[in-house]
Amino acid sequence: MKGKMIKTKQNKKATRAQLKIQQTAFMLLALVFFFSLIFIFYLNFSKNKLYEARNELAMQEAYTLLQKFSSNPEFSCLDLSYCLDKDKLNALENMSGKYKDYFSGLASVFVREIYPENKTFIIYENPNIKPEDTIIGYSAFIPLCSQRFKDGYSWNECKIAKFVVSMKEFKQA
């Protein structure tokens, strides 16, 4: 009888210990689950940031290209430092083949006159861009000037234009 009582007491103690272990295990599981959720959230956040940074870099690349483009004697004006020559653009329009290496990696490059008239000068179009590709464009305002002559006088007539560079957008898969 006494032996049976001791055994029951021991069994109760063991069950309580098991419950305690179970409780700790569940607690640990909950914590692991909680931290995993935080980690997944952080990972997703970082991934988004990475894609944003990639697109930001692409934008910087476009701006750098604009600076390079506007200071290139093939496109720049004679008198102004930040300007595109409209007459040169007219002559060089649709010469994609010649600028294949210069604009490699881009989808298209064009200059759009926005004021007072609307006219687009296509400088480069990448033939490898597929219709299903998502294209993102970066633009910067630039004066579009042309040399004018009247009564023995010559002057620069500048209009408002946008230099647009477009490239494939890097999207999250």
């Binding site: 930001e56 004021y115 910067a140 305002f141 004018r148 009564d151 408002i160």
Partner: protein, 175 residues
């Protein structure tokens, strides 16, 4: 009875521990978010304002102060308006030509009020001030859109005129 009270106390302690852990995690998260979100925004976007300001100032107007075809650029026209000159070829006040040209250029470049409601740039301000930062009565501030609670970036350009130095400001508001 005593055993039950002890057990209850232990459970309370465990709950308190758990709450403390959660609180610590939340505090950590809040600090992390505050550091991440408080990073200063890069100046990149002001490049757009700078480009636009330079482009606007280079625009050739149809106003010639002395004779045709010596047409003024917007930058020249600002100086001529400040000095009180008139456009001899148009028979108009240079300030009127300046204001109408600026309004048309900015509307064509950034959009009208309706377009600004849906575009990335929600508002713009074009302002010309004297060297002592005072406003010029003949050149009103050009403003369009809604800039409340928006990120504001700008560009400025000092210019020299016959009547003194002026500062030109272009502010863009981004959604």
């Amino acid at each position: 009875m005593r055993y039950k009270i002890l057990k209850g106390k232990k459970a309370q302690e465990e709950i308190l521990g758990f709450v403390l852990i959660i609180l610590l995690v939340i505090v950590g998260g809040v600090i992390f978010l505050a550091i991440t979100l408080n990073k200063p925004v890069e100046e990149q976007q002001s490049l757009e304002a700078e480009n636009l300001l330079q482009t606007v100032l280079s625009y050739t107007t149809n106003c010639a102060i002395q004779f045709e075809p010596q047409y003024d650029s917007i930058q020249d026209l600002i100086g001529d308006c400040y000095s009180g000159f008139s456009c001899s070829n148009l028979g108009a006040n240079s300030c009127e030509v300046l204001n109408s040209s600026l309004n048309s250029i900015l509307t064509a470049s950034l959009g009208n009020v309706e377009i600004l409601k849906t575009s990335k740039i929600t508002a713009y301000t074009f302002e010309i001030k004297a060297e002592d930062n005072s406003s010029i009565s003949s050149i009103p501030v050009i403003f369009s859109g809604n800039c409340t609670n928006k990120l504001e970036y700008g560009a400025s350009q000092p210019i020299e005129t016959n009547s003194g130095k002026l500062n030109i400001f272009l502010k863009l508001c981004y959604s």
